[in-house]
Structure formats: C-alpha cells, structure tokens
C-alpha cells in the first residue's frame, strides 16, 4: 500500500467523523476541523502523485479556486446561502462533467463497457445537475422569476429527452468510440437539467436543492468509478445519501411525493383552489392592526411564540425579531420560535438566520415539539410565513394543502400576522388563518413592522 492510499483512508475516516460531529451543535465545529484537515491531507498527498509532471496549470486552478471560494465563503450573506449552495452544486457537477469529457477524449474507442457506463453516468448526471443548479441559483437570486414556467406537454418533452439520453448511453456502452453520440448525450443532459427546474416554483426550492445535492453526489461517485478513486466513491455516496434523505424530509413536510414536486409544478392555481379561497373569503373579514396598538396585546402575556418564514429572510428582519424577543425576555415573558421544516428556501434556512441574529438554538423548536405549546401561547407572532400556518391543511379536503403538516398557529389565544399584503402564498391558496377572529394583520415590510413594534413596546411602558 502506498503512502498516498494511507492518506486517503485516514481522510475518508475523518470525513465520516466530521459528518457525525454534525449530530450536535457542540461537536459540529470540531468535526469540521477534522474534515478540513482530512481534505488538506488528501490534496497535499495527491500533489506527490507520480502521474503529475506539470504543476503550472494545476497551481493556476488551485489559485483561482481559492480566491473565488475564499471570497464566496467569507462574503456571502446568510440570506444568500441557498443560492450559494445551488451554485456550488453547479460547480461540483461541472467539474465532474469536464473530467468525464477529458477521460472520454483520452480513452475514446478503447473504453471498456464498465468505464463507458461510469463515464456516461458521470456526464449525464453531472450535466443535468450543472444546468439545473444554475437555474435554481438564478431563481433564488431572483435573476429569473420564481414562478413556475409550464407549457402543455412539458412532461412528454422531458420524458422524450430522457429517453434519447438513455438510448445514447446504451449504444455508447456497446460502441464507445462514437463521439457524436457522446456529445449529443452531454448536450441533451444539459437541456434536461434546465427543463427539470424551469417548472418548479420558488417555494419548492428546499426539495429541489436537496435533490440537486443528491445528484451532485451521484455525479461525484460516478467520477470516482471512472478514475477508480475509492475515497471519491465514499464521499459521492455520502453526499448522494444526504441529499436524498433531506429531499425526502422536505417532501414529507409538504405532504408531497418527490414525483409530484418534479412533475407537478406546484405553483399553478387550479380552479378548485380558487373556489375554496373564495369560500374562505366569504366566511369572514380580515382585521388589520397598527404597530402602536399591539403593545396592549403584550400586557399580561406570559408566553409568546414567534413563527418565522421566508418573508423574514427577504426583508432581513431577523435582527429586530431577535431584539424584540430579548425585550420580551427582559419582562419575564417566555419566547419560543417555531420552525417549520420547509420554512425558507432550503433545509434549516431559518435556524441559520436566527443563529446569525444571536438567538440561542435552544429557543428554536421543531414542528412536532412546538405544536403542543400553541394552545398555551398568549400571543403568536407570524413573520412572513404563510402556507405552513394554513389551518386548511388540517380541515379542508378541497385545499391543495390538505394533509400537509402545519404549525398549529390558529390554536394560539391571539395571533398577529406580519405580511406585506393579502396576496396568497406560493401555493396560490388563501390562508384561512387570516380570517380567524383571533387574528390581526399587521401589513408592511417585516423589518419595518418589527422596528415599529419595538418602538411601540419601548414607549408603551
């Protein structure tokens, strides 16, 4: 066994321990330091690989990557983490695809069946993940409208593209020298990636990001098979499993199957939902409230639950929210945060934003933990969260949200909803919560509203 193999074995071990460290916030950083060390060990070890004879280009690549990566890693604001994540999936997939092309050009017709199959998987999964992730990043950065873009027969077009890709791949395995087929396949994979993400709305991004994470892992693992690089097979497999598990969790939190997310285009407003919404509207009126009137509601309150959603991220309201909670804490009021698994644009998004605002993590409660507490809450403050609080998910069979696990905000004694306008959420469904007699709407930008609330609370006493 060469010293390099030994390096790789140690690295693989430390990577796994690093992920294990993430099972608790107390051990997470230590685990990651281990993983960083492992990466350094593997990379430095590889620099002594006997096949490397020219260091010029490789040094240039390392330098560019370090500068770009360093800038992104240190500068990206926490609100932009979802798009950074999507972008990094794109980069990882691009690397796998390019290596696949390079290896195809090198081996060409001499590639055996095994190598060709691995190469095929590498460039196909890599290619579709590359364009799909770029599209997701563009939607998250709002370079492209977040609404789903759909047309008639979309699924048939996608299925045909996928069919042609499979035919190309199978043919290539038996006649590996066919460059035309190979590049057709790569091109179609790139198109398929775009097609896959175009119909998906911004609210479904947590699932899509997790799924692309999984694909990026699989592309990586196939690259491991092409180069017969065992450590890469391990990390690719870990990455693939992690992404897949997260996307399953996200799907469960939305009560939808992965198939439904990929082929369903959730954002469409169907007539049935419109009818249900109209019915809801007929049921009651919306009461709005001004920020300075809210301090009355806090008089005598002992328990408050804050429900953050994507609206909080958009207006960067996490800091005033945390300040507000601090002020309540000083008055002896118990404050908890209720985090829905799909709140925000990626798994765990809200937790990171609140942690950034110095909210201690033991105040953040998962859906199952917090739901029993809503009944005791004197006041529930919903900040830019919508569909995940809609009681229709529990009671209204006609609603497209029916069956989705929600935060049971409507059981609170009084509810204030901070919202920009009465526009429905991404599911295109009216929220029955807003027509609840216990609910008061505080319209406006979340950050401004929070600042007004803070000011009102300070002058109120």
């Amino acid at each position: 066994m060469s010293p390099l193999s030994l390096c790789y074995i140690v690295s693989a071990c430390l990577f796994i321990l690093g992920l294990k460290g993430l099972s608790s916030p107390r051990t997470a950083r230590l685990g990651m330091f281990g993983a960083e060390g492992a990466m350094a060990l593997a990379v430095i070890g590889t620099l002594f690989h006997h096949e490397i004879i020219n260091y010029t280009w490789l040094a240039i690549g390392l330098l560019i990557g370090s500068i770009v990566g360093g800038t992104i890693g240190l500068r990206v604001p926490m609100t932009a983490v979802p798009q950074r994540t999507a972008f990094s999936h794109a980069l990882g997939a691009l690397a796998a695809t390019l290596i696949g092309v390079a290896e195809f050009e090198r081996h060409g017709a001499e590639a055996g069946k095994v190598l060709m199959t691995a190469l095929g998987f590498e460039v196909v999964i890599g290619g579709l993940t590359f364009t799909g992730s770029l599209m997701a990043a563009a939607k998250l950065q709002e370079l492209i409208r977040g609404q789903p873009i759909t047309y008639r027969g979309q699924n048939y077009v996608n299925m045909s593209i996928l069919g042609v890709i499979v035919v190309c791949l199978v043919t290539l395995v038996f006649s590996p020298g066919n460059a035309f087929l190979f590049y057709t396949m790569v091109g179609l994979a790139l198109i398929f990636g775009l097609q896959m993400v175009i119909p998906i709305g911004a609210a479904d991004m947590p699932v899509v990001i997790a799924l692309l994470n999984s694909y990026a892992g699989l592309a990586d693992a196939s690259m491991g098979f092409v180069l017969m690089n065992k450590i890469q097979i391990i990390t690719g497999s870990l990455d693939g499993t992690s992404g897949f598990l997260l996307s399953l969790l996200m799907c469960r939190a939305m009560n939808r199957s992965a198939m439904n997310v990929l082929f369903g285009a959730f954002g469409k407003v169907d007539p049935e939902a419109m009818a249900a919404a109209a019915a809801a509207q007929a049921k009651g009126t919306v009461r709005s409230i001004q920020a300075d009137e809210t301090s009355v509601l806090l008089d005598g309150a002992r328990k408050v639950i804050i429900v953050p959603g994507y609206g909080m991220a958009v207006s960067q309201a996490q800091h005033p929210v945390a300040e507000f909670a601090n002020q309540l804490g000083k008055r002896g009021i118990d404050v908890k945060y209720a985090i829905h698994p799909v709140a925000g644009r990626m798994p765990g998004h809200m937790n990171v934003l609140l942690a950034e605002a110095n909210v201690p993590y033991d105040k953040l409660y998962e859906m199952e933990q917090i739901n029993p507490y809503f009944g005791e809450a004197d006041l529930v403050l919903v900040i830019g969260a919508n569909d995940v609080t809609n009681p229709a998910a529990r009671s209204n069979r006609a609603s497209p949200l029916y069956g989705m696990p929600i935060l049971e905000v409507d059981r609170g004694k009084a509810i204030i909803v901070l919202k920009r306008s009465m526009n429905p959420g991404f599911a295109g469904v009216e929220n029955e919560l807003y027509y609840n007699p216990k609910t008061m709407m505080l319209f406006g930008d979340a950050k401004e509203s929070m600042n007004k609330l803070l000011a009102a609370m300070k002058t109120g006493h």
Partner: protein, 95 residues
C-alpha cells in the same frame, strides 16, 4: 477491472448505508450547515482533477482538468469557510 468495479460497488453501497445512519442523526437545526459540509467534502473530486490537470495527457485534458480544479477548489474552500461561519453562530442560552 471487474474486481475493481466490484470493490467500488461494495464501497458505494456501504458508504450509502453509513451515510443514512450518520445523517439521520443530524438535527434539522443543522441541515443548512450539513448541506454545505457535504458539499465541501465532495470537493474531494479535486484530487482526481489535480492528476488530470497535471498529467500532460494533451491540451484538452489539461484545460478541462484545470477548470475542474478551479471549480472543486472553490467548493472546498468556500464550503468549509461558510460551514464554519454558520456553526460559529449557533449558541446556547447563557446560564
């Protein structure tokens, strides 16, 4: 080749099972750092790209390899930095 493939498939499968058990223990609190961490770790593709960029297999290989090195390095450096930035922020209520 066949035996190599066999070993590779075993590794792939076992790592998948291991990943399943390790990752189900990660609380939703840390799901965002988990994603950037697995992302940084899978930047290990850098080692394959390094060999291809430096082995002088021809201009095309070198160019594609160099771009791949730059991409993977970006993920490794950026991924670990942002993971640590996030993890540093998670604090408990002071006693």
């Amino acid at each position: 080749m066949t035996s190599d493939l066999e070993i590779g498939l075993y590794i792939f499968m076992l790592a998948g099972f291991l990943g399943y058990h390790v990752i189900t223990r990660v609380p939703p609190l840390l799901h965002t750092p988990l994603m950037s961490a697995t992302n940084a770790i899978s930047g290990i593709s850098l080692i394959g790209s390094l060999v291809i960029a430096g082995a002088d297999h021809g201009t095309l290989s070198t160019v594609l390899g160099t771009i791949a090195v730059a991409c993977s390095t970006t993920n490794v450096v950026g991924g670990f930095l942002i993971t640590d930035r996030m993890l540093r922020m998670f604090k408990k209520t002071p006693e």
